[in-house]
Symmetry: C2
Subunit: 410 residues, 2 copies
Amino acid sequence: MNQQPTSLPRRHLLAGSGAALAAVGLASFGRTAAAAGETAPVAVAGAAKPLPAYVGWKDPASLIVHSSTTIETKRSVFGTSVITPSEQLYIRNNLPAPDVSILGNRDAWEINIEGVKNPRKLTLGDLKRMGIETTAMVLQCSGNGRGYFPNKPSGTPWQVGAAGCVVWSGVPVRWVVDALGGVEAGMAYLTGTGGEKLPDGLDPKSVIVERSVPAAALADALLAWEMNGVPISLAHGGPLRLIVPGYTGVNNIKYVKRLAFTAQETDARIMSHGYRISPPGAKGDPSQPSVQEMTVKSWINGPGTDGAPLKAGDTQIHGVAFGGMNAVAKVEVSLDGGKTWQLARMVGPDLGRFAWRQFVFAARLPAGQFTLASRATDTAGNVQPEQRMENAGGYNNTSWADHAVKVSVA
Amino acid sequence: MNQQPTSLPRRHLLAGSGAALAAVGLASFGRTAAAAGETAPVAVAGAAKPLPAYVGWKDPASLIVHSSTTIETKRSVFGTSVITPSEQLYIRNNLPAPDVSILGNRDAWEINIEGVKNPRKLTLGDLKRMGIETTAMVLQCSGNGRGYFPNKPSGTPWQVGAAGCVVWSGVPVRWVVDALGGVEAGMAYLTGTGGEKLPDGLDPKSVIVERSVPAAALADALLAWEMNGVPISLAHGGPLRLIVPGYTGVNNIKYVKRLAFTAQETDARIMSHGYRISPPGAKGDPSQPSVQEMTVKSWINGPGTDGAPLKAGDTQIHGVAFGGMNAVAKVEVSLDGGKTWQLARMVGPDLGRFAWRQFVFAARLPAGQFTLASRATDTAGNVQPEQRMENAGGYNNTSWADHAVKVSVA
């Protein structure tokens, strides 16, 4: 065991009433945390747990089941068709999904819009009549890449697969706000509240999924009812999800039941103490940076990620790159672990600055050992760093060195 | 019965040995043809046939099963996320799919490349080492919209749902050709041959799926192994499919086993007599235009397509538009059956000239009857026509009038 104590919501939950956790099906949180500390990423990947029922429609062969609420896409299954198929998309739910009955009459789902001139309750049916926009976006768990932290932070040891590029449709938040008279003066934050059922016996603020992002994020935000062409599944936050392009997954509130412009960040524990960039060994607190905007990152998805032997000769190194808030300007590939770099070629359609781009680099590899790495640069000139930024929670790992792929060519 | 005699491959098959057809599972072809003649589109849509086993992974609630090889997406399920999910994508196979065992070792699939300086057999594994490109493309059956022809041509009475926008990954044909020394002199056509098992007892040329397109189509063509992010399913032509962007579905050869640059069009019946634009009442013959390049088209997918009552007030009229070989320049929407038109707004990412664009038009509809129509214009100035071009096979229906949606607002 080499766990660092943290104050993640999950850890907090574990400190709560065991009976209360079990009563709402949260026992799996405990298993996850235990696995994170006790099992190396490769071993976790090898464990073939069955898919839980609420994601029974997903493709088990494409996924690594860490727990019932943390499920990762295998690196080797990422294709080169830009969009991540829903049946391969990762799952990371902070609380168990609500009962599927909430999808019975999607258009009746209600959301309170607050902190605007004319606050009111709207149904999803109302929202659908207010406008439609479509955005392709990288959805990535803040902890994606945590599995490469050598000190094994608490939390799921994701490698690259807690991310995907998906398409959302919904109404732009700014149109809803405009229709309700605009944002009230002095509101610096956009706060979304999830509609998960909260476990009995715990302070709601300690478990509720409620996050704040800067109010300016409303410029790109959607209240979305569709993902990848179909009504949003329960697992991914249907019937209604707040989508904040460029921000890590946790800020994209599932089952969103309240959208509030607020003067302060929410004091929900998942905001105040969870998802903070804490120094190694420290606990999260509100003085530390929150995990919000994503930054430039890339990784190679093949070859060499499926365990199959690689034959000497021509190969096509391919992967994905994204800039978070900015578009990707270029991707370089290294065959020698970062000593030398060459420009990769972008392929496929450009789905906008919040989506990932695919890159391909044609290489002729002789027999031997190679460390394949990729390094992206965004349009603002930010370069993907060599090293991760150490932090207690294992967040925001964009290190190109951590994401390199060692291959044996015979 | 109001059927026009045609010489489609299917009709020809029906004239062949019934025993031979039954032996290879082609009996369903007969049922299809019968259904096409005997049943109005609406009635067909109401028949809830189960999905055949080879497409058992698709979403039955999204589909209209005309026959085991002709399955249509319901108009009302098309979302606004640009890409058509694979589980909703239509099926139209000219012959039953090969045995699923051909997917056992995808990389071992072989294709003969002919009519190049250095013809040779390549495996899919070889192709994957030659390069990767990704193209988003409208895949549309030539007969999409046949259901609106009042004279009920033989063939499946598709409405709008024999089409989708999907993403393909594979190697550009031009790169393969370059690697093999280039196209031989005098080769005017690119001819692809499908790997379906042919029924015994019939002249192979009478049933084989082999189509020719102008050799210039190689500029955009792919030999594709991936669709929508996963290896191509058996139903959609895996392990390897010839993709000719901008051309109707039949030209995108499934299970492609031969790619030949040829001086002449193939004399396979599906090319010589099938898929020809024949005058009403006439049979297909090689002197008539072949069904190849798509032209500008659009349709509305909602509201009013799901049978639900429409409430007076604001609504978002949405649909798709594509230009075939050209990008879409604009889409207009009419609320009065085409008397007056207003510009619609394009939404979502632009996936390139072969993909469709989504459009949205915000309307405030009072109680009453409305005929909602859309009309697209491509970047070359071609305007979607009001009327279909009458032809015996019911091909290439781009009529905006045929595709209009009548709605009752209460």
